[in-house]
């Protein structure tokens, strides 16, 4: 089994933690001038989402998690599972609510997402950084108002609610940053 030594630790590294796949969130090297070096690591369990802190003596190692990031196209949601397809092989798979989590509100048919697979099972679904979605409900803007001010809430076709400038209207498509949940521009 492949493993990573403390020298290879960095955020984003996929490792096995107590039998579960996990990802390193943060790695700090601590060392007294005349003493033992340690790596203080914060690790997120990819199955439970819990973040824990673990300390390693420098030189120790962690088993590598056999995970794979693949790009797949989102097809549809059947109410229970989100279905994705590999655009090259047409292979399909279904991700459950645990894997999709809060990102469900950014998933639009045909968008290409990154699926993290562990033993062939989807662990996490990452939508594109920016998605284009149609506004299905927002109050009409006040006439004469331009981009300034506080904006107004708008419900998008996927159910997500974002703040948009007052001049943006019902039925328009807008670009949204999925990492921050913020309006970027009109599409």
């Amino acid at each position: 089994m492949a493993s990573y030594s403390t020298n290879e630790f960095k955020s984003g590294l996929k490792v096995m933690l107590d039998g579960d796949p996990a990802v390193i969130v943060d790695n700090e090297f601590v060392k007294p001038g005349k003493g033992q070096a340690f790596n203080r690591v914060r690790i997120r369990n990819l199955k439970t989402g819990r973040v824990i802190e673990r300390t390693f003596k420098s030189g120790e190692s962690m088993e590598a998690a056999d995970v794979l990031d693949v790009e797949m196209q989102f097809l549809y949601n059947d109410g229970q599972f989100w279905h994705f397809m590999n655009p090259d092989s047409y292979e399909q798979l279904a991700a459950d609510k645990n894997a999709v989590g809060d990102n469900a509100k950014w998933l639009k048919e045909q968008d290409v997402c990154i699926i993290t697979l562990w033993n062939g099972v989807p662990l996490a679904v990452e939508p594109p950084n920016t998605v284009t979605l149609k506004i299905v409900e927002t109050d009409p803007g006040v006439r004469g108002d331009t981009s300034g001010g506080g904006g107004k809430p708008a419900t998008l076709e996927t159910g997500a609610v974002v703040r948009v400038p007052l001049f943006v209207q019902n039925g328009e498509a807008i670009k949204v940053n999925t990492r921050t949940g913020e309006y970027v521009s009109r599409a």
Binding site: F38, E53, T55
Partner: protein, 333 residues
């Protein structure tokens, strides 16, 4: 345009920080000039190096006249050995500001190449040298923010206060229980689990260190005899090492000793450290016979201290990471 590649040529520091570095160096030199301490320079490339298992030396190679077949030279981890040779040769009080090198040390507070201020005071013990270190650091930091009165705690007191454990008498089980109470995961390998100093370092770095020197200078003195490094060991029950460290805002800033002068004891420690290195699979380095010869000739009774200059700049600037105060940190070297 190759974006991302082209940005790497730039320094990570502002011009303001570079000026601060220069100003602090000027003040340090003025401080020692006023006290009659001589500035010296010693070799960065050394034929021998430290045996301390906690330090790894970077290695370079010279080939040419004198060594036609090539010869290994270590980049020094500190100028301690040649400065002691100067003291033994009668230099009187000396200081040096130099770049030093440590393999394997990169992190928020570590750059593998950094600037060290090191000085030696014949006739002083480590308590008197704490006085002088405190005066210098207060002088350098006070213009940047107010400091509470300096405090001094023994290693034992700091441990008892913050972890409620006597570090000099506690057993492996006591340390393990304390680590568990502080929710620190234990080291996995058996060697580390059976090593008292690994447990001490674990609790020290995770629980105690971050709390030391908040808004003030905190000196810690009298370390466990097993962490003596190059300090004298004062007899007692239990014996302690005549060593001190200075912390400011949770950052380890300086380390000092009442220097070991006994050549036989020094040789015994070197041999023991080389044995530990071999047992741990670390490179077995060349023992410093020239330092031992200088101790044979006679090192004056003295105390010495090394202070991390980049960390001092961090504290003066309020920087979060060492890379913010070094023009070109390791990944841009």
């Amino acid at each position: 345009m190759k974006a991302g590649i082209t940005a790497d040529w730039r320094p990570t520091t502002s011009l303001e920080v570079l000026k601060l570095r220069a100003r602090l160096l000027e003040r340090i030199r003025a401080f020692f000039a006023a006290r009659g301490v001589l500035e010296v320079e010693t070799p960065i490339l050394s034929a021998a190096t430290v045996t301390d298992p906690a330090l790894s030396s970077l290695v370079s190679r010279y080939t040419g006249p004198v060594f036609p077949q090539g010869q290994t030279f270590y980049l020094h981890t500190s100028p301690e050995s040649p400065m002691k040779r100067l003291l033994a040769a009668g230099s009187g009080p000396i200081y040096q500001i130099s770049k030093v090198f440590r393999d394997g040390e990169t992190g928020r507070l570590h750059n593998p190449e950094f600037t060290l201020l090191e000085w030696y005071r014949p006739g002083l013990d480590h308590h008197r040298l704490m006085d002088e270190t405190g005066e210098l650091v207060t002088l350098l930091l006070e213009p940047h923010y107010p400091l509470e009165p300096t405090e001094r705690l023994s290693y034992r007191e700091a441990f008892q206060h913050h972890v409620n454990l006597d570090p000099l008498t506690a057993s492996i089980n006591d340390f393990a229980a304390a680590a568990k109470a502080w929710q620190i995961s234990r080291p996995e390998d058996q060697l580390a689990q059976n090593d008292l100093d690994t447990w001490r370092d674990l609790l020290w770095t995770h629980v105690i260190e971050p709390k030391l020197g908040q808004g003030r200078l905190t000196f810690i003195y009298d370390y466990p005899a097993t962490q003596a490094s190059l300090a004298r060991i004062y007899p007692g029950d239990p014996p302690v090492a005549a060593r001190f460290e200075l912390y400011v805002n949770g950052i380890e800033l300086a380390n000092g000793f009442h220097e070991l002068a006994d050549p036989r004891e020094q040789r015994a420690r070197f041999v023991e450290q080389l044995r530990t290195r071999a047992a741990s699979g670390l490179p077995v380095v060349t023992m410093d016979e020239r330092l031992l010869a200088a101790l044979e000739a006679g090192l004056p009774d003295c105390a010495g201290v090394a202070l991390g200059f980049d960390r001092l700049v961090m504290l003066a600037q309020g920087a979060r990471a060492i890379r913010d105060v070094i023009a070109f940190p390791f990944d841009r070297a």
